[in-house]
């Protein structure tokens, strides 16, 4: 990512960067052929490209999640919103499929197939935002509603079917390439840069952090915290919608049951590994690295022939280690442990409250 890093954000991402490099180093030493790259049909292939390509949906949702998380919120519904947007796109391409008609009719233009699901996703985000800001429901509860209901809505759209389709222009979103790079990766770069400029070149980022860090004080300064929170939930919804479109375009089908399933957890993990503070400082670069770490573990495990069922366990170990390293209390504990002068077991027990 060509994000311009100032001194402070550089310090913030040094942990996740090191973790990512460590995983790559491990593969360099122990996984043969991991760094091999080849060009087929004008597109790059290889495990490294695969990490970026497969990780793209999580990276995109995690970017949206970062802002929500920085305002002191959370969005559990992103996985379901992905399913909704995918279902809407597939339904638009093949509206008759669910009633047994296999003919396509006239294919809608690709901009419609992208724009309308994104609008639906934005409305889903708006719903979350209204629940959180105007009805003052705790974010974890408010978004849980759509997490559960959203998948149901997606199933209503597909009538429980997996709508498979062909739409060449739309498929580019999932499997096309642009300047040799997979389109999903290009989309990640575009969205990350767009967010960087929207939040860091305007005062939006500062206001988001202020609202997250101290909502009352922000209100007293005259920041419209409601509007800002509403905005980040809408934005998060759009990001989720986009990720849903990428996956749907890639597999050329909308599966309401499985599209984006558990993605919210990967996205939240990516944000936390990346070093964003809940209600406070956020870092987009850190989030991208967090998502890459998660994806690179998956790819490593797959390319080493370990049973995919174990992926979740390894993921858990890595997420735990990185978050422990970033915890200030943990660092204090380690320092105390090595501080022989004041080495006392009880002191560790007392300061062992993990935030």
């Amino acid at each position: 990512m060509k994000l311009k890093l100032n001194h402070e954000s550089y310090k913030q991402i040094i942990g996740p960067l090191a973790a990512f490099l460590l995983i790559l180093l491990f593969n360099y030493l122990f996984t043969p052929g991991f760094f091999d790259l080849e060009i087929k049909d004008g597109q790059l292939f290889g495990s490294i490209v695969d990490i970026f390509n497969r990780g793209a949906p999580v990276m995109i949702i995690a970017l949206g999640m970062t802002l929500v998380y920085a305002t002191g919120g959370i969005d559990l519904s992103v996985g379901s919103v992905m399913a909704i947007s995918g279902a809407v796109a597939a339904f638009m391409i093949r509206p008759g499929y669910i009633s047994g008609v296999l003919e396509y009719g006239t294919l809608p233009p690709v901009w419609q197939v992208i724009l309308i699901p994104l609008i639906v996703a934005a409305i889903a985000g708006l719903w979350n935002g209204v629940l959180v800001t105007y009805l003052k429901i705790q974010p974890i509860i408010a978004t849980l509603i759509l997490m559960v209901a959203g998948r149901g809505i997606a199933q209503l759209i597909t009538k429980g079917n997996i709508i498979i389709f062909r739409h060449e222009n739309f498929e580019v979103l999932g499997s096309g390439n642009f300047l040799g790079l997979p389109v999903p990766v290009v989309m990640v770069i575009v969205i990350a840069l767009l967010m960087h400029f929207l939040t860091r070149k305007t005062a939006l980022g500062l206001f988001i952090e202020a609202v997250g860090s101290n909502p009352t004080a922000s209100y007293f300064i005259g920041i419209n915290s409601r509007r800002i929170k509403l905005l980040v939930y809408v934005f998060c919804g759009i990001c989720a919608g986009f990720a849903g479109l990428i996956i749907t375009a890639d597999i050329k089908g909308a599966d309401a049951n499985n599209c984006g399933l558990w993605f919210e957890l990967d996205a939240i993990a990516a944000v936390i590994i990346g070093g964003t503070v809940w209600g406070g400082r956020y870092t987009l670069a850190g989030t991208l690295l967090g998502a890459l770490i998660i994806q690179s573990i998956t790819t490593t495990i797959l390319s080493r022939g370990i049973a995919p069922e174990q992926i979740l366990v390894y993921k858990a170990i890595v997420v735990l280690s990185v978050t422990l390293i970033q915890s200030g209390n943990m660092r204090k504990m380690i320092v105390q442990l090595f501080n022989s002068k004041k080495k006392r077991v009880s002191s560790i027990a007392n300061s062992g409250v993990v935030k």
């Binding site: 402070e8 860090s213 007293f220 300064i221 005259g222 007392n350």
Partner: protein, 530 residues
Amino acid sequence: MNIITPVLQARNISKIFPGVIALNEVNFNLLPGEIHGLMGENGAGKSTLIKCLTGVYSPDEGDVIYCDNRVFFSSPLESSKAGISTVYQEVNLIPTLSVAENICAGRQPLKKGIINWTFINAHAKELLAMLDVDIDVSASLSEYSTAIQQMVAIARGLDLEARVLILDEPTSSLDEEEARKLFAVIRKLKNDGMGIIFISHFLDQVYEICDRLTVLRNGEYIGEYEIGELSKHELIIKMLGKDLAQFEYRSSKNTVNKKSDKKTFYRVKGLSKRNGVLPFDLDLREGEVLGLGGLLGSGRTEIARLLFGIDKPTTGNASVWGLSGFIKNPKQAVDKSFGFCPEDRKVEGLIPDLTIRENIILALQVKHGLFKYLSVKKQKEIADMYIKLLKIKTPSSEVSVSKLSGGNQQKVIVARWLAANPKFLILDEPTRGIDVGAKVEIQKMILEFKDQGMSILFISSELDEVVRCSDRIAVLRDRHKIAELCGDDISSSTIMYTIANANTNASANTNANVSVNCNSGGQNEAEVES
């Protein structure tokens, strides 16, 4: 005279934070049965020393000796179990719990593993009774005022078994009467043999209650003195390292701008808020300092909040810059070039995760709007300017604001609003918890900005301060604006007299509204409305 061994002792303690030496070989001796004042400016290291003594921080060098033993407390819990009770400067209570729960939290008496509620409530009531506070201890803490909350915090620290009691700015939100009650309790504890560390910016209180003083300056140990051997003037010189005469400023300014031919830009009529403040009229004029005089809980903050659009008024009407209508929220107020420096800096002022620079430019940025983002370079310039101007003690503007001492944090919030260059600035207790030098600086600044045409609403618990700075003073009593003073009438005694006098009026007729009008000639005529 036999030598008493100190109950708590700090020997050559040093504590270094990145970029700042907070304490440099500081000594401190607390004898049993004494009240020991810990004196120093903001950032002198008072709070850091306390935190080293109670185990919040571990000192980088030096020893803490407690009851003749070298101790290493690794948490405040350990030190409080050992018998050192601490009441911190900022009230650290849980608003949603009941008063009794707040007092007993963390050391609830258990009966067969079950909390003994009857005992807790009785115990809490007993402790509060010592402070002459009689409230329903089972009600949640948030229902009570800041002053009561402060008393609850003190009651929490008042562990009768303790051998050491540390009070960090315990009186900063108490009025005189409440402080007096607290002092009576402190003296009683002292006579029982408890060692008490007392930190306060109120010199009068320090001289009233302390036996000995330890002075710190910039993290250095200056000395330990018997209270009798050091005059107030000498103490200030020791704290500041220079003579207070340098801070002399015009005190006769009240006579300069006496005429009220200034334009009124903000007028409210019959403004009130249920459970907040009774209907009042107020004219705010350009280039004038309006002081709000009154005791704690008299409705000062409530008026400020109404004027800034934080609270919605129940009745009344208002006009601002010629347009009628209330200010509905702080955003509108900021758009009208108003500023509000709130009383509770921790909850309502600071953005703890952000740097000093970001905290300072935030209000200016809001004024500029979302899209006209100030460049980081420009932000730095502004922040550095105010750090220098207000003498904020920090290695750089890029430090997180939460790392500053309380007084310096207050200065950051004042800087925030000065940077926004408002036309009307509300200062609610801007000098609370701030050292003498900075207090004078802020007062001086108030007068300077007034001369440049800024209007200021000034609220302070220190009557002298209000008297010194204000051109006009609205006197409040029991949520009621009872009078308006200006010109030569402005003095502490007039205010006290007005408040005392209104007492009889108010008891005779609760709706009595005595107002003293300020005419251009400075003549006053009293009229009684009903």
